[in-house]
Amino acid sequence: MRVSVTNRAFLPLAAAAMATVLAGCGSQIADPASAGSTASSGTSCVDTSGSSVKVGFINSLSGTMAISESTVFDSLTLAAEEINASGGVLGKKLEVISEDGASEPTKFAERAGKLIQQDCTAAVFGGWTSSSRKAMLPVFEANDALLFYPVQYEGLESSKNIFYTGATTNQQIIPALDYLAEQGTKSLFLVGSDYVFPRTANKIIQAYAEAKGIEVLGEEYAPLGSTEFSTIVNKVRDSKADAVFNTLNGDSNVAFFRQYKSVGLTADTMPVVSVSIAEEEVPGVGLDNVQGQLTAWDYYQTLDTPANKKFVAAFKAKFGSERVTSDPMEAAYTSLYLWKAMVEKAGSFEVDKVQAAADGVSFEAPEGMVTVNGENNHITKTPRIGKINADGLIDTVWSSPEAVEPDPFLATYDWAKDLAK
């Protein structure tokens, strides 16, 4: 028989095919135990005797996350060059060793181990997905080394070996809700990708909404990478909510906004607040589809601060005038300067001295003054709500009057008491 594959034979085949496809999409599952077991006793091998000191950058330069993480790598590179041009740290030039996390948490853990043990770097910068951070955490703790993590995340974490320079929930999601409440929003519809960050974020949103009398009319999750939003968009439209809170990730945003627009929903009739669309993502989503929609971040390229003008000009000079700067890039840029300030305050590259010196260290970042909170290793940040303009950049429409103290466990919010458990 010519058609030699029967359906019975095909079933296991299809399963194998799907498994390969999934593997190709990048594993989300990490085994922290195996990653941590490679750790040694923790005696530092950092060599500070010469005229330079090594630092490690760990970003996905290949795989699905490369789209986002390569931009963070670029801004880290810029910060290192600037620091070297102005005399380095404690008189020593930074020697950057870069590793590719390849969008796989296990790879991040393994490469982080290499940066600490073989390359003897004084500190490591990078990571993006929460799964990559959680995979690296035991490696840094076991080796007593330092990681600077530059991306907004779901909170509920604090390690003495990680400095979090992106926003935690009370510096991004809660201010966005405050803004919506202030605008008179009475009902919300929640749309997110089906994984840890959106689910945690939506738990917080539900608790907030209950406390403030906002009605949540629906909570829908799409599988990661999904491009089929007809049904979700129909549900959103039917709910007649005042606004949509969007925690979709990556390319799903494109499909969501296109299909959102095609059933006649607009920023005027039902605004969407997004927490994962920054300047970098706008062209891919299509400006037509998102113009006028809202975003929640702490930094926008259009910010009118001297430090930001300098940052944007330097970035464009190095990487091209068509490039844009975004919140995670700014947080990465800031993280290298914060480490420099900590080392200089400590007068040493040693991890325990840097940790001891960290509290209260501040830096005039492009987003404004940021200060390290030594208790939870996060930094103060200024939340801002933005509106995507006709150029694909984001204009600030609301800004927190002052920098907000980081509160990763939401301990200072009454309504969030049950969440941290």
Binding site: M1, R2, V3, S4, V5, T6, N7, R8, F10, L11, L13, A14, A16, A17, M18, T20, V21, G24, C25, T64, A66, I67, S70, D194, E220, Y221, A222, P223, G225, S226, T227, E228, S230, T231, I232, N234, K235, R237, D238, D251, N253, V254, A255, R258, Q259, K261, S262, V263, G264, E280, E281, P283, G284, V285, G286, L287, D288
Partner: protein
């Protein structure tokens, strides 16, 4: 009522996307027995063709109409090259074609990343496809209507080709009994090449179509390949009419499940339905009766 119509249309529309993605596959997998994991990447190539054409012709309407035949050609030529260079060495070895074409898929993804960059690119929908028409109060997106129409046109074209042309007769002859066809003077080589060209070209058209609803990125193909195989297998291998029924049933079922549960659970339910269905009817909705002995 309004919602019911909206959901019914969502199901039909999803079915039409599935059908477009699966139509070419039902030719290459169904008729030739080649498990082409790069089928999704041929779609991706079609999508990037739409992007390139749009850069050359800035008018979104004209560029869409040019993109459809261009996407067909790009997909088809890629398929032809794949067939000539690799696959013709491994007919009768479906598992090998699975591995080889998966490798080709990865190469094509990386090539797209190198040429167009990792971020997704924007293909604008023409002005006459933006917005929607109202059907009893339910908004019917014009892009979806267009894709539904396109899938039906492709289907009609394919059926016409297979049933009413000498070329189609030769293709069917080779599927039914390769040896007898060859001894009757049909060039099976040429027939294989043409089948693969058309099947892959249809993937290219599907790629152009999905730029209207989703993102154009190097990973576009991975979103569709599994669903496309599901449609072909559930429909019955080698059966175009089976693929049509399977695509629209799966589309409608999925939107019903998704509406009454959630998107993730809906997907799980669909897979359960397919597994149970294949347990009861392993040959799919329709099965091909051949006269060959093997």
């Amino acid at each position: 009522m309004e919602l019911l119509i909206g959901q019914m249309f969502a199901g039909l529309s999803l079915g039409s996307v599935l059908l477009l993605a699966a139509l070419g596959l039902s030719l290459t997998f169904g008729q030739m027995g080649v498990i082409n994991m790069a089928h999704g990447e041929f779609m991706m190539a079609g999508a990037y063709t739409a992007f390139v054409v749009q850069r050359a012709i800035s008018d979104a309407g004209v560029s869409l109409l040019v993109s459809i035949p261009a996407g067909f050609l790009v997909g088809g030529v890629l398929g032809l090259v794949l067939e000539a260079v690799l696959l013709r060495r491994m007919y009768h070895r479906p598992l090998d074609t699975l591995l080889v074409t998966f490798g080709v898929a990865l190469i094509l993804q990386q090539a797209a990343r190198d040429i167009f960059g990792a971020p997704s690119v924007d293909v604008r929908a023409p002005a006459w496809l933006q917005g929607n028409i109202e059907l009893l109060g339910a908004p019917i997106p014009l892009t979806r209507l267009f894709i539904l129409g396109l899938s039906l046109v492709c289907l009609a074209g394919l059926v016409l080709l297979l049933k009413a042309t000498p070329l189609g007769r030769r293709i069917r002859a080779v599927v039914l009994n390769r040896d007898l066809a060859e001894t009757s003077g049909v060039s099976t080589r040429r027939s294989d090449q043409l089948t693969f060209f058309i099947g892959s070209g249809l993937a290219g058209i599907a790629g152009v179509a999905v730029t209207l609803i989703g993102s154009t990125s190097p990973y576009l193909g991975t979103n569709y390949i599994v669903d496309a195989f599901l449609v072909v297998v559930a429909g019955g291998i080698g059966q175009i009419k089976g693929a049509v029924i399977a695509a629209f049933s799966l589309g409608v079922l999925q939107s019903v499940f998704e509406y009454s549960t959630t998107a993730s659970i809906g997907k799980v339910l669909i897979l359960i339905v397919i597994v149970v269905f294949l347990q009861l009817r392993p040959q799919g909705i329709f099965s091909l009766k051949t006269r060959s002995l093997a």
